[in-house]
């Protein structure tokens, strides 16, 4: 297959992945909407089933349970089925995207992160892979609407900075491109998961504070407990932060020393990488500081993610600096 055909294939892969992921996103949104409608009814039926089982014959009539099931919805696990369908679509979309990114790499004859378009597309792939990996390991399907939504938005916006496949500019022609950028991308993927978890944590925590009791129904009822989410957010950030330290404060400066003659020069991209590092360091501190645990730390995780996003979007597009070719 020649380069042209590969480049074509890459575009087809990315475009079809975008469509499939958009469907996945929609499916997960329907899952949440269905949870909003169905859950209370399901709880009723659950309750009557439990009571029916509990008092072997007398207490509540089995008819109540049957009526509750028959009236409300064809199946009490409708949200779960949408969730399953969404997950399948996400796997398919990720596979298509991976194929597209691979074809792009082959077409360009190098790692697929030499400009902003490629970084966006590869970054979306990394986010999805991190997410699917954590679905397997930690069962984080409940994060699906956020992750798929994020991936679709990134892939959609990537079209705005599309450039055809081609070789690297000289400044990027270094093996540090592989180390520095891949470490930053994987850390970024984990930051997305961490930020999504922290955002949902805040939503659920606020709802529980208002209700004065644990929320078990509706979309928020599909989430794990706030404690579990808080711990997951920490684990994800504990993975991402050392990697980010390596990408931004070790690999980056070594490369900068080789390419630009100084290891740290307060280039806008460096400044924001530093800001991101400091905010996430603050997040780790906040978790051990009285009055900042939970809510305060979660807000800091979101702030850190905002600085990370601004570094990629804002600094690339609006501020000129040495990194202006890509990330």
């Amino acid at each position: 297959m020649n380069t042209e055909a590969l480049a074509q294939l890459a575009n087809v892969g990315v475009a079809s992945a975008t469509v499939v992921l958009a469907l996945a996103w929609l499916t997960h949104l329907v899952e949440w909407a269905a949870a909003r409608e169905v859950r209370p009814a399901r709880l009723d039926s659950d309750a009557s089933l439990v009571s029916a089982g509990g008092h072997s014959a007398g207490g509540s009539s089995p008819a109540t349970g049957v009526a509750a099931e028959g009236e409300t919805s064809p199946s009490p696990s409708r949200p779960d089925r949408f969730g399953q369908a969404g997950l399948s679509l996400t796997v398919l979309g990720t596979a298509l995207l991976a194929a597209g990114v691979l074809a792009r790499a082959l077409a360009a004859g190098r790692v697929p992160w030499g400009n902003m378009y490629e970084f966006a597309v590869t970054g979306a792939l990394v986010v999805l892979v991190v997410y699917l990996g954590l679905v397997l390991r930690a069962g984080i399907q409940w994060l699906a609407p956020i992750v798929t939504g994020f991936a679709v938005v990134v892939l959609g916006l990537a079209i705005l900075v599309y450039v055809p496949a081609g070789p690297l500019v000289p400044a990027l022609d270094s093996y540090w491109l592989v180390l520095h950028v891949s470490a930053a991308a994987i850390a970024g993927g984990a930051f997305v998961v961490g930020a999504g978890t922290s955002a949902l944590f805040l939503l659920k925590q606020r709802a529980e504070q208002r209700a004065g009791a644990p929320v078990t129904t509706g979309p928020l009822g599909r989430l794990p407990t706030t404690e579990q989410m808080d711990r997951l957010a920490f684990q994800v950030h504990a993975f991402a932060f050392p990697l980010w330290t390596f990408a931004a404060l070790i690999a980056g400066p070594i490369w900068a020393q080789n390419a630009w003659g100084r290891y740290w020069g307060w280039d806008p991209k460096e400044v924001w990488a530093f800001i991101t590092w400091v905010v996430y360091a603050g997040y780790l501190h906040a978790r051990a500081t009285a009055g900042w645990r939970g809510r305060g730390a979660a807000v800091l995780a979101l702030v850190g993610f905002a600085t990370f996003l601004f570094n990629f979007v804002g600094i690339n597009l609006f501020v000129s600096g040495l990194h202006s070719y890509a990330f």
Binding site: V163, P164, A165, G166, P167, V169, P170, A171, D173, S174, E227, R231, A238, F241, P242, T245, F246, L249, I250, P253, I254, W255, Q257, N258, A259, W260, G261, R262, Y263, W264, G265, W266, D267, P268, V271, W272, F274, I275, V278, V279, A281, G282, L284, H285, A286, R287, A288, T289, A290, G291, W292, R293, L300, T307, I315, V319, S320
Partner: protein
Amino acid sequence: MSADTTAPATRGAAPPGGGRIEPDAPVGPPTLSPGELGRWAWRQLTSMRTALLLLLVLAMAAVPGSLVPQEGVDSLAVARFRLTHPDLSPWLDRLGVFSVYSSPWFSAIYLLLVVSLIGCIIPRTQVYARALGARPPRAPSRLDRLPAYATYEVGADSGRTGADAVLEHAAAVLRRRRFRVDVDPGAVRAEKGYLREAGNLIFHVSLVVVLVGVAIGSLWGYRGNVIVVEGSGFSNTLTQYDEFTSGALATGSSLPPFTLSLQTLTADFQTDGAQAGQPKLFEATGTVTPAPGQTPRPFDIEVNHPLSVEGTSVFLVGSGYAPVVTVRDGDGQVVSSGPVPFLPTDSSYVSEGVLKVPDAEPAQLGMEGFFLPTAARGPDGLPVSVFPEATNPALSLFVYSGDLGLDGGEPQSVYSLDKDDLDVVQGDDQSPERLLLQPGDTARLPDGLGSVTFDKVAEFARLQIASAPLAWLPLAGLVVAIGGLLLSLYVRPRRAWVRARPAGDGRTVVEVALLDRVARADPVSDLDELVAELRHLPQKGDLA
């Protein structure tokens, strides 16, 4: 086996913790003696909360330096910013916004952070040293109040007499699980995960090392930029630099006296395909003489491949065009001749430049304009460049005559004209005369002011010469810091207690409890596993 197990009484997550030790800070400053006030201020400064706030303030303080151009990063951009924002700039100057990272307020924040860091490291190191020498903490009187707790009974027929055998076995099991174990009468206390705090301390000490390394590099280091045109040379002395920044403790006389001469500067660009015009290769070749009297050796500098000479490094950070221009004045005298570097303004290498001719008669001449590597006529009729390589070079100049303002002694940039006392030279139609020259062309200036000849195109290399002493120190500091960070994030300290007491009839009641100082996913399943192993007591019957 006749033991009986009751379900763990309490289950749940351990309280979070494992952070800095928080001194019990008073709410507000009560009336205090100076000494007490100092101690209060010190405790405030070194508290966890202050460290957190200082981190956030540092992050915010770094922001303006990324949005407003910085003197130390791009002084040309600063000059441009000053021109476009004449009202705002004096205020920004007063606040030090053009050099944020060396401004007093930024320095104050990070110095406070360093003090807070050191003030936290020292007492914590002492606490840690004591903890290393100490025995694991004594078992709490009510183990059943701990988050992960289990109890079971061992029957009379389970071998050697009850409690002691149980505890001996428990100590062995816990040691195998890499706990530090201590046996009291009736109880075993154990603790593990000491490396967490060690990692934490290593991380913070390494950050101090990094800061010290960076400080040394910037105090004794220097960095300079120079434009060297093909065929000319550079010797490493202060006066040769276009731009030079050095640390407070670096002296100009300490520059190693090497010289280099640039033979060729190659800049290749993609000529076809979707990315036509993108740079492909930058390469500077020539010879370098490490010290006076030594024999020159050839060099080859590319982007990402600097030249090392005498402890300094020479980097290729840019390239551009220097049209070779000869100016004759009204008397026909050659008053200026040679390459004039034009600074690229965009990726198509449209370049801006200025030529000052103070010796011209009858009036001084100044020229300002554009160099276009591949000139073409743009949609609005004005010349543009369509490719960064010099395939159809053209020079477009406006000429000014009058007083260049060089006599006042005030330093001027060679890249800008002070037009206060200059008049633009006008053509026959009373509009500013635009000279458009290609190599070999000569243009005669009106009013007998002279002529301008565009001889040929030369290329220049923008070299950066830098020395950062001990640059390996911050690097080593960061590598060690990541190691410490990983320990502090992944080692999870845990305490374990086993208590055994006889309950009559030869039975022994055993209580087991775990306390995690950092929340874990499932301490209870770990506890169940531990209990299973503890209950597998060596049996006398097994031996018989």
